[in-house]
């Protein structure tokens, strides 16, 4: 029998013990990247029309965003720990399954964010004008 005051999970799987926010980091990067692309384009096209600089900037920003997402995705992949225990579902009511589930969800969100960021960067690659 364990006491409720003993917090055995808190040490072992501390990373998300207080918050769900972690799984949204990758989509948040997508959101920031998206808003920055849109804002910068609106500004450049309305003010001076320096499209080449804009495209370069979006390219650099996209690179940074993708690297950050890959890094988050890699961390989430390790947290999911699929290779070791081959557990795809993580459907038990244990601290370990909760920990791995959040890793799984964060990993999948990193994948979709990677795709989203790549899609949003395509216009800057393909379109060379504000018109």
């Amino acid at each position: 029998m364990t006491e409720i005051t003993e917090n055995e999970d808190a040490h072992e799987f501390r990373s998300e013990a207080v918050s769900l926010w972690r799984i949204t980091f990758a989509p948040l990067i997508w959101a920031v990247h998206f808003a920055a692309c849109y804002g910068a384009t609106a500004l450049v096209c309305a003010k001076d029309g320096a499209v080449d600089g804009l495209r370069l900037g979006i390219g650099i920003g996209t690179g940074v965003a993708l690297v950050a997402i890959v890094w988050l995705g890699w961390q989430a992949w390790q947290q999911w720990d699929l290779v070791r225990d081959r557990d795809w579902e993580n459907d038990q009511g244990t601290g370990e399954d909760r920990h791995q589930f959040l890793g799984h969800a964060a990993f999948l969100l990193a994948v979709i964010s990677f795709i989203g960021v790549s899609y949003v960067a395509l216009p800057a690659l393909l379109i060379g004008t504000c018109r």
């Binding site: 989509p27 609106a42 459907d91 959040l102």
Partner: protein
């Protein structure tokens, strides 16, 4: 000065062992617990019934009201279909046709789709989570009464021929210049309902995060709860831009401040941005909770756990994010730069991926399961078929050149009805059939259900499939008639016939829903053999929600925890009694659902109805430009809410601990991030900050979009007063923070002093903010107008902050707030953290940014 002892925390064994759960409960204990719970949760009778706040009552009223509004909006559509059946019809004149299509869209979105989500969630979420009720039942009731008043007001305008007629998205300049009160009714009536929506979102997010049963960690909570959390978050970030837009719009309508008037520096495109930043996520706000119903039905039908739980979570969260990057695809023809359009086109294509994933997860579950076809599944199958068709035309419309061609034609009408019928109407009806045994304790008719399905499914396709073609042949939407030479006559006639078939299907459904079923006898408790907690309900009905709050270790507890229901019924789990005859529920931690404390839940009250009536007055009088009664109503509304908070929330408890069952002792009071009130404030402030950010966005939007912003030689806000406002505002924040800290350390006198100083400082900040812009003329140009708007926004929030500080001061003086029981003070400090940020940003925009802009 001695430091007060900290509040007690939970103690005792947890998690419960199998041995503890097997110990029998003596029969007299069981009877005592039942009697106490019955007394605590008794639903008021007779005319007092309407003072009920229990989620099962409010949820049913909410759902029926939203459904009633939907039927009325459907009748408007039928009238429009009659008018369009033949070329040159004169059934409706142009003016009434305009009112009808505007009201059809507005009512379906604002009075049916979003409220229906809130209604269903209020009704079902506590049952999914084995909770007794939502954390803030009176807030749900208040939201419901606001919704009822606002909805009747907006729809009622049609009876006086005074309805809005500029279309459901109210584009200026058409809507700003429109004569009569139509647009004002739309703006104020719907703002009022939006406030109710945000209230419901706060309630639902806190419910899903904090009111789960012990043991239900995030990886095993029902998928519906994930969707509720995502959708609640989306409401928080989607509705505030619209509220900010409404605020600017109404300032232009009432006081001629030129936010959308290009002749004085305004820009109608700003409205389109603010509207669609709301409007596109809105589509997903409607879609996700409905597809969440499918996520509950599909495993039951397939008789196995859902395939790809994590993938569905990904899909819900991913769609929630990506849906905020789509809004400009409603604005492809406004002349924005090509590259900007392409960003939104790309994001619109990307959102298809998560949306598709969840549909594939459902199909996979059905493929590997042992499917037992049922009526709810028939509706889900219809939903998937229709939604996929709507999704495919959506992919087409997200491509800019095709969009230009199809823009504002019936192709768009067909597309949006396919997505909304497939994504919302069909799953919701499936949900009604599936959950009817839960909330009505009766079954709906299988035969009538099939009739209704095939009528609506056939009728729907007969109505809307031809519209793709009508649109491609060039028929614009929103025309009240068309010439015979156009060649659109036959297709329109087919659509009209189909619309009547849909109506017949709904008639069958309504009859089945409302016909008396007293001869049916008692239904089985779990008629579908579902695995989730809501089907542990009591038949015949008990008002207590759950007999005892279970300990959960599985995603499908009714399948995997064999003795669960028996133990719940015996009162073997948590809170099996109510010694004080008080309503209570267990509050648990966000991630792992460890019990933290026992939350007192508020009971029946009339005050919520009074608060809603006065809030209604505060919104409805300004529609007719009557301001004094509006201010009086607003003041009374505030008094009502304060009375309700003062008398029934966060009162220091008589007993600090409560025997919660299974040897666990839980505190009855907590403050700060453990408490549901703190979460309510935090979530509300996120929404409020979004609205503020939308106005700030407006400021910079004018700067990028308008060459005459800032206008040459214009007057600016007075720097000294701006600086004074910033300083005083920050001082008010610091005093509040100081009060919280010294109060916690037991120095009550200093805390009271700080709480006396803080409102004075805040009032001075409001006065100086006004002085800073007093000499500017907001009617002359958009620049002074937006400075005024920022000032008004700030002052209103400062006033709210002052009321809160005074509330805490009074609490301290009258023993409601003590060094140990400081929940109110901590929540108010949280408000003031956001307030300080607003003060600084507003001051920067008023005083600094105009000097920096090139």
């Amino acid at each position: 000065m001695t430091r007060p002892a900290p509040l007690p925390v939970a103690e005792g064994p947890y998690p419960p062992t199998e041995e503890m759960l097997n110990a029998p409960v003596p029969p007299e204990e069981q009877e005592r617990g039942k009697a106490e719970l019955r007394a605590a949760w008794k639903t008021p009778e007779g005319w007092r019934y309407f003072s009920a706040v229990n989620n099962t009552e409010v949820g049913v009223w909410y759902a029926l009201t939203a459904f009633g509004f939907m039927l009325l909006a459907g009748l408007l559509a039928l009238a429009m279909r009659v008018q369009l059946a033949f070329p040159g019809m004169t059934f409706l004149d142009a003016d009434r046709f305009n009112q009808f299509f505007t009201m059809h869209g507005s009512a379906m979105m604002f009075l049916f789709a979003v409220p229906m989500f809130e209604a269903i969630s209020i009704l079902l979420l506590p049952a999914f989570l084995g909770a007794r009720d939502m954390p803030f039942p009176r807030l749900s009731a208040y939201g419901y009464w606001c919704f009822l008043i606002g909805g009747c007001f907006v729809l009622g305008s049609l009876l006086f021929d005074a309805g809005p007629k500029a279309g459901w998205f109210m584009y200026p300049p058409l809507a700003t210049e429109e004569e009569g009160v139509g647009p004002d009714i739309w703006l104020l009536g719907l703002s009022f309902i939006e406030v109710a929506s945000i209230a419901a979102a706060v309630e639902l997010i806190v419910g899903a995060l904090k009111c789960r049963p012990p043991g239900m960690r995030v990886n095993i909570m029902p998928l519906y709860a994930w969707y509720v959390m995502v959708v609640g978050g989306m409401i928080l970030f989607a509705f505030p831009p619209l509220i900010a837009g409404d605020f600017l719009f109404e300032l232009q309508r009432s006081f001629d401040w030129p936010f959308f008037d290009p002749e004085r520096g305004g820009d109608p495109i700003l409205w389109q941005h603010l509207f669609w930043i709301f409007g596109h996520p809105e589509v997903y706000i409607v879609f996700l909770p409905s597809i969440a119903i499918a996520a509950m039905i599909v495993p039951t039908v397939a008789r196995r756990p859902i395939v790809g739980y994590s993938w569905i979570v990904l899909s819900a969260v991913g769609t929630g994010f990506l849906s905020f990057g789509l809004w400009v695809h409603h604005m492809f023809t406004t002349g924005l730069p090509q590259m900007s359009l392409a960003f939104f086109s790309a994001a619109s294509e990307a959102v298809v991926i998560p949306t598709g994933i969840q549909l594939f997860a459902f199909i996979a579950t059905l493929m590997v399961g042992r499917v037992r076809m049922s009526l709810p599944m028939l509706w889900i199958a219809g939903a998937l078929a229709i939604f996929v068709a709507g999704g495919l035309t959506g992919v087409m419309l997200a491509i800019v050149p095709f969009n230009w061609a199809a823009h504002d034609t019936y192709f768009v009408v067909a597309h949006l009805h396919y997505t909304l019928f497939g994504g919302m109407v069909f799953p919701v009806i499936a949900g009604v059939y599936y959950f009817y045994p839960f909330f009505a304790k009766k079954l709906l008719s299988e035969r009538l259900g099939r009739w209704s399905f095939w009528l609506i499914f056939t009728g729907f396709n007969v109505t809307f499939l031809p519209m793709h073609l009508t649109g491609l042949m060039g028929m614009p939407r929103r025309v009240f008639t068309y010439p015979e030479s156009s060649g659109w006559g036959t297709l329109n006639l087919v659509s009209t016939i189909g619309a009547f078939v849909v109506a017949a299907g709904f008639a069958v459904f309504v009859y089945d829903l409302l016909r008396p079923k007293s001869r049916q006898g008692q239904i089985p408790r779990n008629p579908w053999d579902a695995g989730t907690l809501e089907f542990s309900h009591d038949v015949p009905e008990e008002a207590w929600g759950v007999r005892s709050v279970p300990y959960i270790t599985s995603r499908y507890p009714l399948w995997d925890q064999p003795k669960l229901v028996e133990r719940m019924d015996a009162g073997r789990y948590y809170l099996p009694d109510a010694p004080d005859h008080q309503r209570e529920t267990v509050v648990t931690s966000v991630i792992d659902a460890k019990p933290i404390y026992v939350q007192r839940v508020t009971g029946p009250a009339w005050i919520t109805i009074w608060a809603a009536i006065f809030t209604g007055g505060a919104f409805i009088f300004p529609t007719f430009h009557i301001y004094k009664p509006a201010i009086v109503c607003g003041a009374f509304a505030i008094v009502c809410v304060l009375y309700w908070l003062w008398t029934s929330t966060a009162r220091p408890p008589r007993d600090e601990m409560r025997e919660a069952g299974l040897g666990l002792r839980l505190p009855t009071y907590t403050s700060g991030p453990d408490a549901v009130g703190w979460w309510g404030m935090w979530i509300t402030m996120l929404g409020d900050a979004t609205a503020f950010a939308s106005i700030v966005f407006g400021f910079f939007f004018y700067w990028t979009a308008r060459p005459d912003f800032l206008p040459a030689g214009t007057d600016h806000a007075i720097g000294t007063w701006v600086a004074a406002a910033a300083l005083l505002g920050v001082l008010a924040w610091a005093a509040t923070l100081l009060a919280r800290e010294v109060n916690r350390r037991g120095n009550v006198m200093l805390a009271r002093l700080a709480l006396g100083l803080a409102p004075l400082s805040a009032a001075a900040a409001a006065a100086t903010a006004w002085l800073a812009v007093r000499d500017l003329d907001p009617v002359s140009h958009v620049y002074p107008a937006i400075l005024w708007a920022l000032m008004v926004w700030l002052v209103v929030h400062l006033c709210a902050g002052i009321v809160m500080q005074c509330y805490c001061l009074a609490g301290s003086l009258f023993g409601k707030v003590t060094p140990r029981h400081d929940a109110d003070l901590r929540n108010v400090t949280l408000y003031w953290h956001f307030m300080a940020l607003k003060v600084l940003v507003t001051a920067a925009l008023l005083g600094l940014v105009p000097g920096w802009l090139p």
